[in-house]
C-alpha cells in the first residue's frame, strides 16, 4: 500500500543570503514557517513544487518538508526543520537576530 500523504510545506534557501525560506499561497517566499502554505493534497503539492522551483532566480534547493497545522500556521514535525526554522542554537544568529521571537 502506498504511504499516506502527510502535509508538507515547500522550503528552500534564499539565493543571495542562504536564509531558510518557505513558499506562500501568493507564490512568494517568506522567512516564517507560520506564513507558509500548508499542502495537504499530494497532487497539489507536486504542482506547487514545480511553480516554486521555477523561481530559480530567488532560491536554491527547493524541496517538500513535512509539517503539520498548528494554531498559528504550519509547524515542523521533525527536529531538522525545527532548527531550520529557528536558526543555530549557539548564537542568536540568522533569523533569530532579524526577527522578534515568535510565539
Amino acid at each position: 500500500m502506498p504511504k499516506a500523504f502527510t502535509p508538507k510545506v515547500i522550503t528552500a534557501n534564499a539565493l543571495i543570503e542562504g536564509d531558510v525560506v518557505y513558499f506562500t499561497e501568493a507564490d512568494d517566499w517568506t522567512r516564517h514557517l507560520a506564513q507558509a502554505e500548508l499542502l495537504t493534497d499530494e497532487a497539489d503539492a507536486q504542482l506547487r513544487l514545480l511553480t516554486a522551483e521555477a523561481q530559480a532566480d530567488k532560491v536554491v534547493g527547493v524541496y517538500l518538508a513535512d509539517a503539520r497545522a498548528g494554531e498559528n500556521g504550519p509547524e515542523p514535525t521533525h527536529f531538522r526543520e525545527d532548527f531550520r526554522r529557528r536558526g543555530p542554537s549557539n548564537y542568536a544568529h540568522g533569523k533569530q537576530e532579524h526577527h522578534a521571537p515568535r510565539p
Binding site: N13, L15, I16, E17, G18, D19, V20, A56, D57, V60, G61, T77, H78, F79, R80, F83, R84, G87, P88, S89, N90, Y91, H93, G94, K95
Partner: protein
C-alpha cells in the same frame, strides 16, 4: 615563513576573476544552480542549513599575523564577527552572502590565502603537526614537504576528478599530533643512518567505515617522495570505486585489494614515472626548506616566568596545561584554547583573532598555527614573555587552562550549521564543558579527549576520541552513540561502541557517569582515562552507563 611566488599570486587572481564572473552569471540567471554548484564548490563555497559557508585553507595550519588580521577583517566586514576553525586546519565563515564571496576571496588573496581545493574530489589542504618547527621531539619540520605537496597537488591535472576527496597529513615527530593514521596518506619524517626520509601510511580514514592507516613503505627517500606519492594517488585514481560513493575512498581500495597488491602496483607505477622526475622537485624542496628556517631564538633569563609560576596560581594552572616543550632553551609553545567553558569549540571573534595576531607579532616571531583540535598555537615564545601574554589572553577570554582536558572538545558544526548533519554537536560540547566547570573536576580527571560528530561523516573525529560521541537521528529525535578508548595519536585505535545511544538530555549525564567510573576505578592519579580503559576494558564503563539508566527507567 614561506611566501607565495608571483606565479601563485597570478594563478589565484585569475581564479578569483573567473569566480566573480560566475557569481554574477548565477545571480543574473544565465547559470543554473546545477551549473553553478560545482563552480562554487571549487572555490570552497558550500550552501549549509541557514546560509552559505566559505571554507578557507590554512596550509599546514601556519599563519602570520597579517594573515590572521585579514581573517578577522573578513569576519567583521562580510560575516557576523567570528570565524570557525576546523579539524582540517581550515577556517569556515558561516554567514557570507553569495554576492560578497568574490570580494572575500580577493581580500584573502591580498595575504596569499585562498579557498582552492577546500572542496571537491581533489587533494585537499595538506595538514601537519601544529607544533611543526618548534616541537622538542621533532626529527625535522614537516612543513616544507607539506608545502611541496601543496604546490604539486594544486591544479594537478590528473588529480582534479579523483574518485573522492583525498587527504594527506604530515608529522615530523614520533609523537603524532597530526592524526596521520586517520588520513588517506599519512607521512612521518624519519631519519635512518643520517638520511631524512618518509614512512608512508595509506588507507586510514574516519567516516562511515573508519580505518587505521597501514604502512605502505617504511622509508622513502626525499628525492623519491613526489613520484612515490604520485604513484599512490594514480593507482587509487584507477582502482578506486567510482560506482559507489561509500566505497570510493582509498581505505576501501586498500581493504579490497590488500596492502601487498597496492604496494606492488605502486612500485610498478613508481618504476615507470620515476625517470620523468628530473630533480627540479628536489631543488624546489631545498628552496622551500630555506624559507622555513627557524627564527633567530634569543637567549634570556626565564626568571620572570619562574616567579609568576610561584606567585600566581592562575598563571601556574594555565602554564601547566597550555604550554608544550620547545626545542630551543628558554622557549615554550603556547596553546591558546578556543574552548572557554560553554563556548562553541573552534570559534574566535574578530577581536580575539586580532589579539592573537598582535601577540604573535610582538612575542612570537610573527607565527601562528591552527591545530586540528580547533585551538590556536603560538609556536615560538620566550618564557620570559609568558606572564604578559597570559595577562593579555585573560582580558580577551582566551586564557582557559584546559588544553587536553575534558572541556577541550572537538565538535563539528553539526545540525546547527551543517546540511548533512543528523543531530547537533555544539550544544552537547557546551553542555559537557559547562557541567565539568560546575563540578570543578576536570583538572582532577586529567588528560581526556572528547570528540563529537553530528553525523556518520565523522568530521569531529569521534572514532578516535578517548570518548567519542556520534549524533544520530532515531525516529525523528536526536540520539547520541558513545564510543570509548579511541586514540588519534601514534597509538591510533578506533573506539568501541558502548551500546544503545542516549537522548539529547541524557548525553551529558551519561558522559559524567563514564568519567566518574574512571575516577572510581583508576589505579592512581597518574593513570589516564585511556590507560585505565585499556586496562579495564568496556565492562565497568558499560555498567556505569547503563545500570543507572535502567534504574531510572524502572522508576
Amino acid at each position: 615563513m614561506y611566501d607565495y611566488t608571483d606565479f601563485d599570486a597570478a594563478f589565484v587572481a585569475e581564479r578569483n576573476r573567473q569566480f566573480r564572473a560566475q557569481v554574477e552569471r548565477r545571480i543574473d540567471g544565465s547559470l543554473t544552480e546545477d551549473e553553478f554548484k560545482p563552480l562554487r564548490l571549487m572555490n570552497g563555497l558550500y550552501l549549509q542549513l541557514h546560509a552559505y559557508m566559505l571554507r578557507v585553507a590554512i596550509p599546514y595550519g601556519t599563519l602570520n599575523s597579517r594573515q590572521m588580521r585579514q581573517l578577522a577583517y573578513l569576519a567583521e566586514r562580510w560575516d557576523k564577527g567570528y570565524g570557525h576553525f576546523t579539524t582540517r586546519q581550515n577556517i569556515q565563515y558561516n554567514w557570507p552572502r553569495l554576492r560578497d564571496v568574490p570580494d572575500m576571496l580577493d581580500a584573502l588573496a591580498e595575504v596569499g590565502m585562498h579557498a582552492i581545493q577546500t572542496s571537491g574530489n581533489t587533494i585537499r589542504n595538506v595538514t601537519a603537526d601544529h607544533f611543526a618547527g618548534a616541537a622538542a621531539d621533532e626529527v625535522a619540520d614537516p612543513r616544507p614537504v607539506a608545502e611541496l605537496l601543496r604546490q604539486w597537488s594544486t591544479d594537478h591535472p590528473e588529480f582534479q576528478f579523483l574518485p573522492r576527496k583525498f587527504k594527506i597529513a604530515v608529522t615530523g615527530s614520533e609523537t603524532d599530533r597530526a592524526v596521520i593514521k586517520a588520513h588517506d596518506i599519512g607521512l612521518q619524517v624519519v631519519e635512518r643512518a643520517g638520511q631524512i626520509g618518509y614512512r608512508v601510511l595509506v588507507g586510514g580514514g574516519l567516516g562511515r567505515t573508519p580505518m587505521i592507516g597501514k604502512v605502505l613503505n617504511d622509508f622513502v627517500r626525499q628525492e623519491d617522495l613526489l613520484p612515490y606519492i604520485e604513484s599512490v594517488v594514480s593507482v587509487w585514481n584507477l582502482l578506486g570505486r567510482r560506482d559507489n560513493k561509500f566505497k570510493s575512498r582509498i581505505k576501501i581500495t586498500v581493504h579490497e585489494h590488500g596492502i601487498e597488491e597496492i604496494s606492488r602496483r605502486v612500485d610498478a607505477h613508481f618504476a615507470r614515472i620515476r625517470p620523468t622526475f628530473s630533480g627540479i622537485d628536489t631543488a624546489l624542496f631545498e628552496r622551500i626548506k630555506a624559507a622555513f628556517a627557524p627564527p633567530a631564538f634569543r637567549e634570556a633569563s626565564t626568571g620572570v616566568f619562574e616567579t609568576a609560576r610561584r606567585t600566581d596560581p592562575i598563571f601556574r594552572a594555565w602554564s601547566d596545561t597550555n604550554l608544550a616543550p620547545h626545542r630551543a632553551p628558554g622557549y615554550a609553545i603556547v596553546q591558546i584554547s578556543l574552548k572557554a567553558h560553554g563556548a562553541t569549540p573552534g570559534d574566535a571573534t574578530a577581536e580575539q583573532m586580532r589579539v592573537m595576531a598582535d601577540l604573535a607579532e610582538r612575542y612570537g616571531h610573527d607565527e601562528l598555527r591552527i591545530s586540528h583540535e580547533q585551538n590556536v598555537i603560538l609556536p615560538h615564545v620566550h618564557k620570559s614573555d609568558l606572564p604578559a601574554i597570559h595577562a593579555s589572553l585573560k582580558k580577551h577570554g582566551l586564557a582557559t587552562a584546559n588544553i587536553g582536558l575534558v572541556s577541550d572538545i572537538i565538535a563539528c558544526p553539526g545540525m546547527d550549521y551543517c546540511a548533512l548533519a543528523t543531530a547537533r554537536s555544539i550544544p552537547v560540547a557546551q553542555g559537557i564543558a559547562t557541567r565539568f566547570e560546575e563540578l570543578k573536576l576536570e583538572h582532577d580527571v586529567g588528560p581526556l579527549k572528547i570528540k563529537i560528530s553530528g553525523c556518520i561523516n565523522a568530521c569531529g573525529h569521534h572514532h578516535v576520541g578517548h570518548i567519542g560521541i556520534l549524533g544520530l537521528d532515531r525516529a525523528g529525535v536526536e540520539n547520541y552513540q558513545i564510543t570509548l578508548g579511541g586514540s588519534g595519536a601514534e597509538d591510533a585505535t578506533l573506539g568501541d561502541r558502548t551500546g544503545p545511544g542516549f537522548a539529547y538530555d541524557e548525553i551529558v549525564p551519561a558522559i559524567e557517569r563514564i568519567i566518574r567510573a574512571y575516577l572510581a576505578h583508576r589505579e592512581s592519579r597518574d593513570e589516564t582515562f585511556l590507560e585505565a580503559y585499556r586496562r579495564l576494558g568496556l565492562a565497568p564503563f558499560k555498567a556505569a552507563l547503563y545500570e543507572e539508566a535502567q534504574v531510572h527507567a524502572a522508576e
